[in-house]
């Protein structure tokens, strides 16, 4: 049994360590993506590779980080002062730009904990600047790194660092960002070793207690859920290679104190890069479960223990290599949340929530020696008690925008418009939030990739509320306007403009 007082004390200590890792990444890193947009996460793991503390950063990293630690432990032997690095989507990664570093925390000769941090790098090579292309197989998407040792006995392996850097369009930035990531783990190791010095075995025990604690409350809440099977389905627009709508289907029910989430009936894997590996699906499920049943609970692997997730192999959500996956993490993850929350809304009507924008609107561009990546917010879905918020990131991401004044200083682009897209939120008794309009003017020729969704199918409304307006991507070339598809790689010339209109959120209830 645990001591309820110590539980709270340890929870405070652990969270302060992940916060400190995040702060270090933000303040000392180099890509706009990390320093301005804060697209990173930090977590502490037990010896069994379960998360027991997680910095409140980016939800899509949550469920996926434990598989990184598992893969690292399986593939490389981690001694004291060693750090593993990986981005391989079929060995513990999600998509290639997300690079994860894992280090053991040694105490009395063996690992007591692991620490990990993940950051989204602006470019890891591949066919398009920003490494978020529309591709057919993973080899086109960038450098694939299985678990390797970036640090050995406290010494950085320069060879690997140089290899990664050489494969990026901005090599100096890669190297510098990886150094910041290594430092973040070092800091956490230092703090945890101090703690173990002072508290000994007790610190390890309480890491487990915290996970058990989340699990116990969640099981209790699951057992109180209504019985029955609840179905929901929704569609991805297309895979960027002319596919038809792609279905994601879910069925949700409780079995005693367990929750079963079954994705049977989901489309097979597709040609374009919106396949999502099972770790991403776990992240999306964990996020949805926390939202519906455990907003107040500490986030850790305990929330996954009572949840049985079934995903058909070879499907969109559990693809075989060499499927392309760049958009799985950012786009498909959003749709998984939409369907899981949809099924929950059937199960718990008083906690229903209409669909939010359901995309991250990934825009990347660059040239021979530069690359930039960003995402754009949209509208949030309405609930029985509230209108949806406008112009913000929803569900699986919460990355910031790059300030226009930073973007224009660092890249050859002007932002001509960045405003709310009035009237795009779904109407209803409660209105969905409005999306955003962002207009780029390119000041030099560049290659651009867009991975976006909800350009065809609206974010759904509930109980008679209307869906949000779908998004639109427009290219303005010499005064001529052309509607672009949801996913595309293309070239722009000097003076061309790209206008991205992001989707609104779904409304709730019939308008009076």
């Amino acid at each position: 049994m645990f001591d309820p007082i110590k539980l709270e004390v340890y929870r405070n200590i652990f969270i302060s360590i992940t916060d400190e890792m995040g702060t270090l990444l933000k303040l000392s890193s180099f890509s706009p993506n990390i320093k301005e947009r804060r697209d990173y996460s930090a977590a502490l793991f037990s010896e069994r590779a379960e998360i027991f503390a997680l910095g409140a950063h980016i939800p899509v990293h949550l469920g996926a980080m434990p598989s990184s630690v598992e893969a690292a432990l399986k593939e490389v032997e981690l001694g004291e002062g060693d750090t593993a690095l990986l981005n391989h989507p079929f060995y513990g990664g999600t998509h290639l730009p997300d690079i994860t570093l894992i280090s053991p925390v040694f105490w009395e000769g063996s690992p007591a904990f692991y620490v990990a941090n993940r950051a989204h790098h602006s470019d890891v090579g591949g066919m398009q600047p920003g490494s978020m292309p529309l591709a057919e197989e993973i080899y086109q998407e960038g450098l694939i790194i299985p678990p390797v040792k970036i640090e050995e006995k406290g010494k950085v392996n320069r060879d690997i660092l140089k290899l990664i850097a050489a494969n990026s369009r901005n090599p100096e930035e890669r190297e510098a960002d990886l150094m910041a990531q290594i430092a973040a783990n070092r800091k956490a190791i230092h703090r945890l070793q101090e703690l173990l010095e002072r508290k000994g075995e007790e610190a390890v025990e309480y890491a487990y207690h915290i996970v058990d604690y989340s699990e116990r409350i969640l099981r209790k809440r699951i057992s109180e859920l209504p019985s029955g099977k609840f179905y929901f389905q929704d569609f991805m627009d297309d895979d960027g290679f002319g596919s038809q709508a792609i279905e994601i289907k879910v069925c949700l029910w409780k079995e005693g104190q367990n929750l079963v989430i079954d994705f049977a009936g989901t489309s097979p894997q597709v040609r374009g890069g919106i396949n999502a590996n099972s770790a991403i699906t776990l992240s999306a499920v964990l996020y949805s479960v926390k939202l519906m049943l455990g907003e107040d609970l500490p986030i850790n692997s305990g929330l996954l223990r009572p949840v049985k997730v079934k995903i058909p192999p070879g499907s969109l959500l559990n693809p075989y290599p060499p499927a392309a996956v760049a958009g799985g993490n950012v786009e498909t993850s959003q749709r998984i949340v939409d369907v899981v929350l949809g099924a929950f809304s059937m199960m718990l009507p008083h906690r229903a929530v209409a669909a939010s924008q359901g995309t991250m609107n990934n825009i990347s561009f660059g040239g021979r020696d530069f690359a930039y990546y960003e995402t754009i917010g949209g509208g949030a879905g309405a609930t029985p008690e509230s209108h949806g918020a406008s112009g913000l990131h929803t569900h699986m991401t919460n990355s910031m925008n790059t300030p226009v004044e930073v973007l224009e200083r660092e890249f050859l682009v002007l932002i001509r418009r960045y405003e709310l897209r009035k009237g795009s939120g779904g109407r209803g008794r409660r209105r969905g939030g409005d999306g955003i309009v962002r207009e780029y003017e390119f000041l030099s020729p560049a290659r651009v990739s867009i991975l976006s969704e909800r350009r065809r199918f609206s974010p759904y409304g509930l109980e008679g509320g209307q869906g949000g307006k779908p998004g639109r991507n427009l290219l303005v070339k010499k005064g001529k306007v052309k509607v672009l598809p949801s996913k595309i790689n293309f070239k722009v010339g000097k003076g061309d403009r790209l206008v991205v209109e992001t989707p609104g959120g779904g409304g709730f209830g019939k308008e009076d």
Binding site: P4, I5, L7, E8, V9, R11, N12, I13, S16, E20, L27, S28, S29, F30, P32, K35, E36, A56, E172, E173, A176, M179, A180, I182, A183, R186, Y213, R216, I217, K290, L291, E295, L297, V353, S356, G377, A380, T383, E385, S386, A389, S390, G391, L392, H393, N398, M400, N401, P403, V404, E405, V406, E408, R409, L414, I415, R417, Y418, E419, L420
Partner: protein
């Protein structure tokens, strides 16, 4: 001429006077409808030099009584304040929320104009457009205007033109004057807040200055006072000056006690403020207010929602939690007799540190039996005994507070073991020794004159203003020389903002590796090599690594200080400590005998061994077993672990 420090609080307005070598204190009931009345009444006759901490701006903001303000920005960016950084403040919630928008969308307007990052004009601003918009604003009943054009820090000419037209009819804030830095949202927040506070600050200062008999200076959030002329232009600089008061006082009192490394702990009813003093007060430019980023210089204070009134509860999973809900002053902890809420204060009553024989604060008698009942209910829920539960509530509270101390020390690369903990506020002295012990802080000091501590800090404070200048050059001997010249210019300009007197300047340059987004502050010296070394050392200390990359100087920061004439603190006679009674307390799971002292019975040199309790109208101090306390010449109480 007498000097006066005056602090307006919610209930009382505190006064500390210094005249002909003696220090005098007074308290008057505040006059919330018009705070200047209590200030003027307390100041009385005769000429004075007044240093005043006012919450006029803070209250106007909190009570949403600011001016009807319009935002004017570049065409295409109407929703600058609504979109913000496009993030939500609550990561896991069905109902995502954004920071407050400050100015509603219907009062946000755009003008056709555009400046580029290098200051070049892409689209010129037409005066006619501005005049047309001014008429619209008039029709809409606007009182104040915030002008925020993109890249105005690089070329302010458009903002100046707009300001020229608008200022004929409205109160105006121009963003390059409020916060001359890039990142448009952060600049817009500061400018919008500033504009919305202009009229209320002007009204307040008009009344105060018309009736005051002497010079008036206003406390700002960065630890010193400034002229009323600056305050009228920049009311946003006072927005967070309230909690700064205790830190300023700690710094000032620290000088008398020869302490230059202090961690301040201000534990009140609902929250605890922690700050670090190393030589000087720590200043930050990245604080926030209700999730709004506030990039103005202010005392670096970390606040946690744990105080004497924080409510203990047991969550669904059986964990004991304390706060962030607070019983506040009304209804207050269970022992006040108006609620059944089990709070940290009640836990301390159960443990015997707070007793009914001694009133808490201003004549408030407590009812211990109510604390026993309230904490007993928690004990039942976690199947523990009463005393263990009370110690648990204390322990959880301490762990919350510990986090704030770590944020201002360890996270800034400072070892708390090299500091003294200065504790004040209603509950500070009750927990300080144990908190210090957990953090390996070797020594605690409870400062004198706690009842008017902020006002004392004001009286002892210096004139302070922070200046900044955007620089952005690669570090080299040539650029360092140029920076030196620029500092010289800034110093000449700064002299205009202060009354007569010899100013002290602190030059700091903010540096980073090229490509980083945030800077490290390095004290400026006239040598590129030393600057580089200091920067690398600090980077290593803070971020655990250095990089082999070019280094840039991004901003030059100047802190101008006008040292005030300092009074001596009153000294107290020496005296042997005599307890007034003894009683049982609980500590570490054991019952033990504890001596109780009255503050007024102690004198210079009084020596106490723990467990003991000192109570006075300023607060209660607990000396745990294994600790000793010694009273100093100013009545300050030093607490340390007893050397055996």
């Amino acid at each position: 001429m007498k000097r006066a420090g005056v602090d307006t609080g919610g209930t009382f307005t505190d006064f500390v006077f210094f005249e002909e070598g003696t220090l005098r204190t007074a308290k008057l009931l505040s006059t919330p409808e018009n705070p200047a009345l209590a200030v003027l009444k307390g100041l009385g006759e005769g000429a004075y030099f007044l240093i005043h901490g006012t919450t006029v701006a803070t209250n106007a903001f909190l009570e949403e009584k600011t001016a009807r303000t319009a935002l004017i920005t570049t065409e295409g960016f109407k929703n600058l304040l609504q979109i913000g950084r496009q993030t939500r403040v609550n990561l896991f919630s069905r109902v995502p929320l954004k920071p407050p928008e400050i100015i509603p969308e219907e009062l946000c307007f755009v003008l056709r104009e555009r400046v580029l990052y290098d200051g070049k004009v892409d689209i010129p601003l037409s005066r006619e457009d501005v005049e047309r918009l001014a008429r619209t604003l008039e029709e809409r009943g606007v009182e104040a205007v915030a002008v925020v054009f993109l890249h105005s820090y690089a070329n302010p000419s458009h903002e100046r033109l707009a300001g020229d037209v608008f200022s004929r009819k409205f109160k105006v804030s121009l963003s390059h004057q409020v916060l001359n830095e890039h990142r448009e949202y952060e600049r817009a927040v500061a400018t919008a807040l500033n504009a919305s506070l202009l009229p209320v600050m002007e009204d307040y200062l008009d009344l105060l200055e018309k009736n005051a008999r002497g010079e008036v200076y206003i406390m700002n959030s960065s630890g010193g006072f400034m002229t009323t002329e600056i305050t009228r232009r920049m009311p946003v600089l006072t927005l967070l000056s309230g909690p700064a008061g205790g830190v300023i006082a700690s710094h000032a009192v620290g000088k008398f006690l020869s302490l230059d490394r202090i961690i301040t702990l201000d534990m009140g009813g609902t929250s605890t403020d922690v700050s670090l003093i190393k030589g000087g007060i720590s200043i930050t430019r990245s604080s926030s207010l209700f999730h709004l980023p506030l990039r103005i210089p202010m005392v670096d204070i970390q606040t946690v929602g744990t105080g004497g009134g924080s409510i203990a509860w047991v969550d669904d999973g059986g964990a004991l939690r304390v706060g962030p809900e607070s019983a506040g002053a009304d209804p207050g902890p269970a022992c006040y007799g108006r609620s059944e809420l089990p709070t940290l204060t009640d836990a301390l009553v159960v443990l015997g540190r707070i007793r009914e024989e001694f009133p808490l604060g201003e004549g408030l008698r407590i009812k211990p039996e109510r604390s026993f009942e309230a904490v007993g209910r928690i004990a039942k829920k976690i199947s523990s005994d009463l005393y263990r539960t009370a110690e648990g509530i204390l322990e959880v509270s301490l762990s919350n507070t510990e986090r704030a101390v770590k944020l201002v020390s360890l996270e800034r690369g400072e070892d708390p073991g090299e500091f003294t903990l200065m504790a004040f506020g209603g509950a500070g002295g009750l927990v300080a020794a144990e908190l210090a012990h957990r953090l390996s802080i070797p020594r605690v000091v409870i400062p004198p004159l706690q009842g008017v501590f902020s006002a004392l800090g004001m009286l002892l404070s210096d004139g302070v203003r922070e200046y900044s200048s955007s620089f952005l050059r690669q570090l080299s001997p040539e650029t360092v020389e140029e920076a030196g010249k620029r500092f010289g210019q800034m110093e000449r300009e700064a002299k205009k903002d202060f009354p007569e007197g010899a100013l002290i300047f602190e030059r700091v340059c903010e540096m980073r590796y090229r490509g980083q987004g945030y800077e490290i502050s390095v004290p400026f010296v006239n040598s590129a090599e030393s600057l580089l070394n200091s920067f690398n050392q600090l980077h290593m200390k803070l971020y655990y690594h250095t990089q082999d990359r070019p280094v840039e100087i991004v901003n030059l920061r100047l802190r101008a200080v006008l040292p005030a004439r300092k009074p001596e603190l009153p000294q107290i006679p020496s005296r042997r400590a005599e307890p007034v009674f003894e009683a049982d307390i609980y500590h570490g799971g054991r019952k033990m005998n504890c001596l109780f002292y009255r503050g007024q019975d102690l004198g210079n040199g009084s020596f106490l061994r723990g467990p003991s309790v000192i109570t006075s109208s300023h607060g209660t101090v607990y000396i745990p077993p294994g600790f000793v306390a010694k009273v100093g010449i100013y009545g300050e109480i030093w607490i340390e672990v007893e050397n055996v």
